[in-house]
Symmetry: C2
Subunit: 309 residues, 2 copies
DNA sequence: TACCTCTATGAATCTTTCTCATTGATTGAT
DNA sequence: ATCAATCAATGAGAAAGATTCATAGAGGTA
């Protein structure tokens, strides 16, 4: 029978490149591994590796098993970690996925009181997903997804947590700095700075530039909000940010937030969960706390600013 | 270490309701199971069941593990099945997911030549998905998804396979039978028959009725195309079908296909795969064959009708 | 060719798992 | 209340399985 060990062997051989090295990594002798491999290959009836001289190369079957290992082993590991948390009296870990770069600051304001209110629950935040946030949610890599794209799917549930306005930030010395609002055409000759996200997922394109048939002169990609803000302040480009984030930085930097279009660009952040998890109390509590910010400005975090912004 | 056996035990105890019964189902003695359970609980540091008199009830930790078991065990089983196919010289099983009821007839015309061309590949078709077709694709429950909703996600790839026109079918005796095309208002007093799908996913609502603010008088749900057609022919309601399917039945039944709106309702069917599977030859071949129908009417199936319809 | 490195294999040993036999506890029926 | 039936727990011995040691074979390299 195909066992967890076998998957571990396959994964380790792939990582280390040889049976001998994998054996050491697994704290076994080379002989033990060889025996184990021989046995499982005989049981499955198909080789996992082609022996090429002194080396191995995965067969088609082996590739399948490696993919299986990479999918299943993390789940085993996570389950064990969770069990050991239960063992220590802790409730579990709430794994939060973020598909919304600038929401990080907002999240911190939700997580702080949550950790205080649920001392036996840990929180983990992930930001990179092989199959996107929805995939991570469906694949049980995360328990909660913070995203601007709610995407109704069976088995999932999305709830809005807050509304905000997306604005363009420019340096105070920028020619556009004094306009009442920005038109798409006015960006045709600008350098746009954004997070490293597929442009098709940026609302600045979807809802502003593309409908007007405009493409900015250049598009730079930067990971961190702080650097983006500094780049903009130094006049090297413009960027789209939530108004509340822009305001926070505008205090300290030479920045001006500009309305995108005459009406402004309204956005919403949603929080997604699996319907199957509907009864997990500490998860419900998190969502309740997150949504609370929407209607009760003082409820989340420092209270220095309404979370609705 | 948490092993596959443990998950099997947990699943089986849940299915059978008792350790003793589970033991028999697993071809073990009750004693063996008891020992195994005791050991894994000691290793994990947390009980999996609360002992209630002579019975067991899952703890929170146990529920987690049961969920894990239900997620992982099928994947082990599928992998083993695939290995045994490799062992027999077969290439594997192409698991096709269908999110498009009436496409079934089309699929048969693609599958027939595919099976002939790839004698060492099996085909399996699934139509029910816990997390929807996309979830099934991401969760490796299927390898190919046939769907009208392409839904671009990272890690997935969608390709259009054919276009068709969605029409309304009514009985030949129906008052609407002679109109040039149907307006939304004309359905306000009708009984609509559809497949059992969430109305929000029916384009008849999304693109026709809802924009006009119309709701049909009744909405009946039926599983099989044949029965739907018979119900319509007998004057008990109207239904939306692909034109080519409607035509097929119109030959034999007293049916009339009607254009939906002045322009008609154009639809497209897509075929989705995981990008990671891009190099699997028999999968590429399937997609190639499926798309072929789009441009080469004689290429798929009986040739009695252009697959584009 | 000599040498190094990697995998394969047989036999012995050690570890784990399973069964048997038995006990204690709970439930339902008489 | 007692008896019978059912279920889980446990200890000891048996069976099965995994690991190691020692060694051979094979491919690549200097």
């Amino acid at each position: 029978m195909l066992e967890r060990v076998h998957l571990m062997i396959i994964r380790e051989v792939d990582r280390q490149g040889s049976l001998t090295a994998a054996a050491h990594a697994l704290h076994l002798t080379q002989s033990a591994l060889s025996h184990a491999v021989r046995k499982i290959e005989r049981q499955l009836g198909t080789p996992i590796w082609d022996r090429e001289g002194r080396g191995l190369r995965l067969t088609q079957a082996g590739h399948d098993l490696l993919a299986l290992a990479n999918r299943l082993l993390p789940q085993f590991e996570h389950a064990e970690a969770r069990m050991s948390q239960y063992a220590q009296g802790r409730r579990g870990t709430l794994r939060i996925g973020m598909e919304c770069h600038p929401c990080y600051q907002w999240l911190r304001k939700v997580v702080a009181p949550y950790l205080a209110g649920w001392p036996d629950v840990d929180v983990d935040v992930k930001q990179r997903f092989q199959f996107g946030g929805i995939g991570a949610l469906l694949g049980y890599d995360i328990d909660v997804l913070v995203t601007p794209d709610p995407l109704q799917k069976p088995g999932l549930h999305f709830a809005p947590v807050f509304d905000y306005e997306q604005v363009l930030i420019v340096a105070r010395t920028h020619p556009l700095a004094s306009v009442a609002f920005v038109r798409p055409e006015q960006l045709a000759d600008e350098t746009l700075i954004s997070y490293p996200v597929d442009p098709h997922r940026l609302d600045l394109y979807n809802r502003f530039l593309t409908p007007a048939g405009i493409v900015p002169k250049r598009h730079k990609v930067i990971e961190t909000t702080d650097i983006i803000v500094q780049m903009v302040a130094s006049g090297r480009g413009v960027a789209a940010l939530p108004l509340w984030l822009a305001d926070e930085h505008a205090d300290r930097m030479a920045l001006v937030p500009l309305r995108l279009g005459e009406e402004g660009m309204a956005k919403q952040i949603f929080i997604g969960t699996r319907e199957a998890d509907g009864e997990i109390d500490y998860l419900r509590a998190f969502i309740a706390l997150a949504r609370q910010g929407q209607t009760d400005p003082g409820g989340v975090g420092s209270g220095e600013r309404p979370p609705k912004c």
